[in-house]
């Protein structure tokens, strides 16, 4: 018989307001095996924990039930408390009487009754608990960063700075990400390239950082501290070790009509290309969709002109397997497609552009050499209308329900820079709200209005009508003056909502990392663990977790790095002892469990069993690798013979809880 102590927490008024905590403690004191029962205002406080420790010693408790908040919140706390008093931490059970009881009920009598039932179930479970000891596993002292934008770059630099090896996998031919496409950065108007390219070069030069550019993660196996990752290095048809980045091939290639994706298709490039001058690695890549040699074997100009002999038309995708202790996701964002917003005529007029396209049109390395010219006719625009919230805060199904966060500031930047460089251009910004909660952000926006004379209009554009004379008739509401405006504009710039990169969803599946309905990665705790995924060993950096500007991304990237460094600094990790175990006597080797295990933790072995009459039989039975098992319990449900059980959550324990609730 266990000697059980029950501890009922008030959680201030969080529990005590809807649950009669004293009555709960009293009722549970009569449960079988309960030798001590108490209630206290804050059980997680030092005094509360001391109460538990003292009771364990004074009453020789062999099991503890805490009636409090969710185990996600304080299970670890109370396990440590028990361990400090000499009790095996897995002899502690939590009855969640806050999230699952007091917070959702209004009626105190009903809340109290339910809290008693939940406590009774926990007591019934503790009776069947057994001490568990966690195993240990080694840590591979190398990190993987997926995505080489500013988030991935900063994370990699910080990890390397602490002395650990780190690999960056980037799907594009160069690292740098979206920031390479930006002209200036708010609110200080630094040139994006000037502050980013030194960091890109640092990555290339740091011997602890290895860049897999033009590569993708294809498979992830293992667990925290011990991941095995397969990386696909896509064929560039150029030998990276030989290419000097001289760029001669990119000038001589006869295929000139390839849309230049770095400039968002606003101009063209050749079939062999280096995305931009500061690319890292500065190596040419052949676009197989357009290369005549690769398509029909007729050309070979680049190979002829390459003095380094780097062109290799026969190159194929390579698969590399690497081991890592930690993985950082930094897959970033993209502007949404605007097919569902054709009232703004994006597909119907070249002079309606997205804000990212506008960046390219004002960038010295862009298609117009930095002079703002209308895409349709190359003329200088005299009236520009900016439309905010295109697809953001949209619950109609066409866009995204969230605020994209960065648009208010970059639009203010675009408007201000336009007025600064072209004072003869009238600039209108249509907004629903101007959201500028950042250091020096609101001041920046006000400067656009007060110093640069940008016309901010509270209202929304309803329709953009391209006219026969090449202008754009913008029909919009002005809610302050309560009138409908008709502005004849030369250009319209749409602040398109941003969304997670499309590669994030399949990656999340590979990593068993959770995502929200918008495909942003979910953090382990929205306030207290913002850079960790709930899956151990997976960390989050930048816009893959939610919309972010550059300062925020860099801060989060550093935070993710520090978490990785903390993990890699350990020599051994303590595992989770609540893992599956197979009862070999019951197992019939059917493979059902192996098929459902998402972690590949189950294998089979042929084992000798002594049978009646001194015979020996060889039977195939399941074996769980406790270091890989995450304790999800899928196998215990799949097993037809009931051989699989989860330590700490055995079928008997769960049935005992159900019985206690139904009593």
């Amino acid at each position: 018989m266990q000697r059980i102590g029950v501890f009922v927490c008030w959680c201030g008024s969080n529990i005590a307001a809807t649950v009669d905590v004293e009555a709960v403690a009293e009722a549970l004191s009569h449960e079988p095996g309960v030798v001590f029962s108490a209630n206290y205002q804050y059980m997680c406080s030092e005094a509360g924990q001391n109460l538990i420790k003292d009771a364990i010693r004074d009453h020789q408790l062999t099991g503890v039930v805490i009636c409090s908040c969710s185990p996600r919140m304080h299970e670890q706390t109370f396990r440590k408390t028990a361990a400090a008093a000499g009790l095996n931490p897995y002899m502690v059970e939590i009855a969640n009487i806050r999230e699952q009881c007091s917070w959702i009920h209004k009626d105190k009598a009903a809340g109290t009754e339910k809290a008693i039932i939940l406590g009774r179930a926990a007591v019934a479970k503790v009776h069947l608990n057994a001490p568990l000891v966690a195993g240990e596993s080694p840590v591979t002292k190398r990190a993987l960063v997926i995505g080489g934008g500013i988030a991935g770059i900063q994370t990699a630099l910080d990890i390397a700075d602490a002395g650990f090896e780190v690999d960056i996998v980037e799907k594009e031919p160069t690292i740098g990400g979206k920031m390479t496409q930006l002209d200036k950065t708010f609110p200080t108007l630094d040139c994006a390239a000037c502050i980013l390219t030194p960091k890109m070069v640092d990555c290339a030069q740091d011997e602890r950082i290895h860049i897999y550019a033009y590569s993708e993660v294809e498979k992830v196996e293992g667990f925290v501290g011990n991941f095995t990752v397969t990386i696909k290095k896509k064929a560039r048809f150029v030998d990276e070790t030989k290419c000097t980045g001289c760029g001669l091939c990119t000038e001589k290639c006869p295929q000139k009509k390839v849309p230049n994706l770095f400039n968002l298709g606003l101009d063209t490039r050749r079939a062999i290309y280096i995305p931009f001058a500061q690319a890292v690695p500065k190596v040419a890549t052949i676009d197989a969709d357009y290369c005549n040699m690769l398509k029909n074997g007729k050309c070979g100009v680049c190979a002829k002109v390459c003095t380094a002999g780097a062109i290799d038309y026969k190159q194929t995708d390579q698969h590399i397997e690497e081991k890592y202790g930690a993985i950082v996701v930094a897959t970033g964002y993209n502007p949404i497609k605007l097919d569902s917003f054709e009232e703004y005529a994006y597909a119907q007029s070249p002079d309606v552009v997205t804000s990212l396209e506008f960046e390219r049109l004002t960038n010295a390395a862009g298609p117009t050499g930095g002079t703002l010219l209308r895409p349709s006719d190359g003329k200088h625009p005299h009236t520009i209308v900016f439309v905010q919230c295109v697809g953001s805060r949209d619950t109609s199904g066409c866009g995204k329900p969230y605020c994209s966060k960065i648009c208010c500031m970059y639009t203010a930047k675009h408007a201000m820079l336009t007025r600064d460089k072209y004072p003869d251009t009238e600039v209108y910004v249509f907004y629903i709200d101007v959201r500028t909660p950042g250091k020096n952000f609101d001041e920046f926006y006000r400067r656009a209005v007060e110093e640069y004379g940008v016309h901010y209009i509270k209202g929304m554009v309803g329709k953009v009508a391209p006219q026969a004379d090449g202008t754009l008739m913008v029909q919009a509401s002005d809610l302050i003056s309560n009138e409908q405006l008709h502005i004849s504009a030369d250009m319209v710039v749409l602040a398109a909502a941003i969304e997670p990169d499309k590669s994030a969803r399949p990656l999340a599946t590979m990593l068993t990392a959770s995502m929200d309905t918008n495909d942003f990665f979910t953090e382990a705790h929205p306030k207290l663990r913002p850079v960790e995924s709930p899956t151990a060993g997976i960390f989050l950096s930048g816009a893959c977790q939610g919309p972010k500007d550059i300062p925020e991304t860099v801060a989060q990237a550093g935070a993710a790095a520090s978490k990785v460094i903390g993990l890699l600094s350990k020599n051994k990790l303590t595992g989770n002892p609540c893992v599956a175990r197979s009862d070999e006597m019951l197992c019939n080797g059917c493979s059902s469990c192996e098929k459902v295990c998402p972690y590949g933790a189950i294998s089979y072995e042929d084992k000798e069993f002594r049978m009646p009459n001194r015979t020996v039989a060889i039977r195939r039975v399941a074996k769980v690798n406790p270091a890989v098992c995450q304790g999800c319990g899928a196998c215990t449900v799949a097993c037809p013979s009931g051989a699989m059980d989860l330590l700490g959550f055995s079928n008997r324990q769960i049935m005992a809880e159900v019985d206690a609730i139904c009593k």
């Binding site: 919230c389 949209d394 629903i432 929304m460 554009v461 029909q475 919009a476 509401s477 809610l479 409908q484």
Partner: protein, 129 residues
């Protein structure tokens, strides 16, 4: 219960629109082809219903200026459907005894040789009960 509260509930029932979903962006009014003929504009219809000022709307000629073209419904980023609010307010008026906005005896004077039947049945549906 106040009359305005009652009207608000009736209106919500008829229109099926939850005016609280409006985030006051004004896109409906930016899009409306009849804007300039209206005393109260689409965004005001939604806002005034939320404030309970439905009687003002019921007295306004704006009710008969909506073209039911559904541009505001199509383009609203929050799925508010302002045109349905306008129609519901109009019904609050014309469902009252003797409040039809258009009666059959007016029609002959409005006819011309080419006018399609569709125009007459549509107008009668929209303007009378």
């Amino acid at each position: 219960m106040t009359n305005s509260q009652e009207l608000k509930e009736t209106l919500a029932r008829i229109s099926g629109v939850d005016v609280r979903k409006c985030m006051r962006c004004g896109k409906c009014s930016g899009t409306c082809p009849a804007y300039d003929e209206m005393e109260y504009h689409p965004h005001e219809f939604v806002y005034m219903v939320e404030k309970g000022e439905i009687e003002k709307l019921m007295a306004s000629p704006s009710l008969y200026k909506c073209l039911s073209c559904f541009a505001c419904v199509e383009r609203c980023p929050r799925g508010v459907e302002p045109a349905k609010v306008v129609e519901a307010v109009r019904l609050l008026v014309i469902r009252q005894q003797g409040c039809n906005h258009m009666t059959p005896d007016q029609i002959p004077a409005l006819l011309d040789e080419d006018l399609p039947q569709q125009a007459i049945v549509s107008a009668m549906r929209k303007y009378s009960k």
